[in-house]
């Protein structure tokens, strides 16, 4: 006979409830005393050096003496659909700080929060307009011919496209968890990998944009949470009760929540084009992508490339990232794996020790 393993005694439930309530009471006290300043994200000191249509370019203050700063500026290109703060979540979990400590001169493009008036911005506007203006501004301000690009997720696909079209302006390309080949995960498909791509490929994006204008961040978050609905919607909040009485742990949790649910909406036209050309059409690797009337041929991407991926990435499965190596013309192509997930590559403990030093060494070895 099946020996039923659930042996929960009413007395145990009572004790569990009492312990939980004690934590809740203390947690409410903690929450009441936390201010917005305690849940700061993106706090590494910086200057806004260029601003256009709500898009800001930051130049971070150096953390090493001037003689140790590399001469090639590095521009971080975040995704359009997440806040840039993932690269600078908190002082002890900050890609930006770690890069600065490597002696890299760090710039970042903050795409901001689009409004309905921005809904007609397209791929051409973002790459040949805003990103190109940013790159030119940094080149002029810093007095250099070329700069390095550092792409984050979707920002990596955009950086790859831009670098291919502008070999005269970009010297090095660093990619992190960047989707390049949107079909590559299908060959050996595991259910937990690439669900957002699978759902996106079937979605009627035209209608979605017709309804929303800009696709709300909440819609994108919901599809993100479909990858683990119970844990991300319920389990996480049941578990947080355990740390409600730990002020520091609670602050860390809240910073991640603030970033996760505080992201921008996706600009309607750009979103349509990205889904159509990159996700559904897979045009970047097929060699059929055109931006602003110019064809994007990855064989013309010949600069040094460092392609970093997360081994446990279920949002952008590693095969979708590393496929780049097969398509580019660069003879200096390096891959680097970190045993973490899609977000953990920026905020996880292991990544704090590994990611920036890898980028720093790679750039130094290439005369940056």
């Amino acid at each position: 006979m099946f020996s039923f393993p659930i042996q929960i005694l009413p007395a145990d439930i009572a004790a569990e409830t009492a312990a939980l309530n004690a934590k809740l009471a203390k947690g409410i006290n903690n929450l009441t005393n936390l201010t917005d300043d305690d849940i700061d994200i993106g706090s590494t000191p910086k200057d806004v050096i260029f601003e256009q249509d709500g898009i800001k370019v930051y130049h971070y203050h150096a953390l090493v003496e001037p003689s140790k700063i590399m001469k090639t500026p590095l521009l971080i290109v975040p995704p359009l659909i997440n806040g840039y703060e993932v690269a600078d979540l908190q002082p002890d979990r900050s890609l930006v700080r770690n890069l600065l400590n490597q002696g890299i001169d760090v710039f970042l493009n903050d795409w901001g929060y689009p409004r309905q008036v921005d809904k007609y911005r397209n791929m051409d506007d973002y790459l040949n307009g805003y990103l190109d203006d940013t790159v030119d501004f940094i080149r002029k301000q810093q007095g250099v011919d070329k700069i390095a690009l550092f792409g984050i997720c979707q920002g990596g696909a955009m950086s790859t496209t831009y670098a291919t079209l502008n070999p005269d302006k970009i010297s090095h390309l660093v990619l992190t968890v960047s989707p390049i080949d949107f079909d590559a995960y299908k060959a050996n498909h595991k259910p937990h990998e690439g669900l957002m791509f699978t759902m996106g490929a079937d979605a009627d994006v035209e209608k979605m944009v017709a309804v929303h204008g800009n696709v709300p961040a909440t819609v994108l978050n919901e599809s993100f949470m479909m990858a683990s609905p119970f844990i991300l919607n319920y389990g996480k909040y049941a578990d947080v009760i355990d740390i409600l009485d730990d002020r520091a742990a609670l602050q860390n949790f809240l910073r991640m929540e603030k970033w996760l649910f505080g992201g921008p909406d996706a600009v309607g036209q750009m979103f349509k084009e990205f889904i159509r050309d990159f996700l559904k059409g897979n045009k970047l690797v097929k060699g059929t992508l055109e931006v602003g009337g110019r064809k994007v041929d990855l064989k013309e991407l010949t600069i040094p490339i460092l392609n970093i991926f997360a081994e446990k990435d279920h949002i952008v499965p590693p095969p979708c990232t590393v496929a780049l190596g097969k398509h580019v013309g660069s003879k200096d192509y390096t891959e680097f794996a970190i045993a973490t997930g899609h977000i953990g590559i920026y905020t996880g403990g292991l990544a704090q020790k590994v990611l920036a030093p890898t980028v720093g060494n790679w750039m130094r070895e290439r005369g940056a």
Binding site: F4, I6, Q52, V117, Y120, T198, Y234
Partner: protein
Amino acid sequence: MENKNPNEQLGGIVNAWAETQKRMWGDWSALLQNLPGGKESPIEAAKKGVEAATQGTNEAARVLMDRITSSQGAMNRVMDFFFKSMKIVAPNLEANKDWRPDLKGFAEQWAKESTAMLERSFGMGSHLGSLSGTLSKDLPEAMGPWLSFLMQAASSGHVGEAMLGGTAGINRLLSMEGDASALAGIGEIPLFGASREKNAKLLRLVDAVVDLRKNSLSFHTAFAEALAKAVEATVEELGKVAAKGEKITAVRQLMGLWYRTADKSLLVTFNTQEFLDKQNAFTKAQQQFKLAQRSVVEDIFRGLDMPTRSELDETYQVIHELKKEVRALRQELHSTAPAKSGGVPRKAGPARAKSE
């Protein structure tokens, strides 16, 4: 409780779970008794109390508490589903019988209940009969009898299509099905003259509601089936726990097992084309509903001399095109201007151009 049969064990657990919820929220409510909302249901009281307690503090903290309290309600429903499922499963499991058919039946019933709940919360509970009443009231009285007939005739199909002619509903109304009636073609005649277009928009909205309800039921049924599969997977996991001689002695331990197993199982379902098709049909029906709703609302706005979303969109598009033109002109200006020494010429406008 040890060594009792699964039915008795589960009966005790379900009661204890209900008691836990009562105590947990009851205690919390008591904790917040001096704050607004203390006299309402425990969860609502906690929500309002926390809102007040965290007022003036940070947004993230407020959002978190809202998520904890909101997810608690949803979590309770999910745990409720799980415990009830286990009660269905347990007798057959004990008798070494196939427990899956009963579980499937329970899941289908649960889907119907949850869809009805969603419809109520979305305000979509009004059926065609009550809609008929609304339309009859708002439109000229003379139209009332027509609408009543139409509602009956098109009760199995789309009311909007029926009114616009050429569909099964209107044909049934005029008894033309299968006959070469002298009345054939009458369904194509514009029914309401000058106001036909406006009525058409209203009725397309009705069609969209019908479609949304249909697709909502289909999607939530698929979701409930997916949950039933997740319960199956959890029963198997419990079997593994039992085989190892281990026990689950805490609610949160059980929740953890259920969540982990359910997530894995759901992901398999979410990747199937059948589920994706139903999800997409539901999403499209929601979008179609919003578009039809907008179409009607825009007519009202026009009547009030207020700008509509479509008009604003046209303005946004013009602004976008003008910006592109300005940028192109600036580029042209820079390329024809005499070159300055050093640096790279700027393509963009002022260094700190303000956003509009």
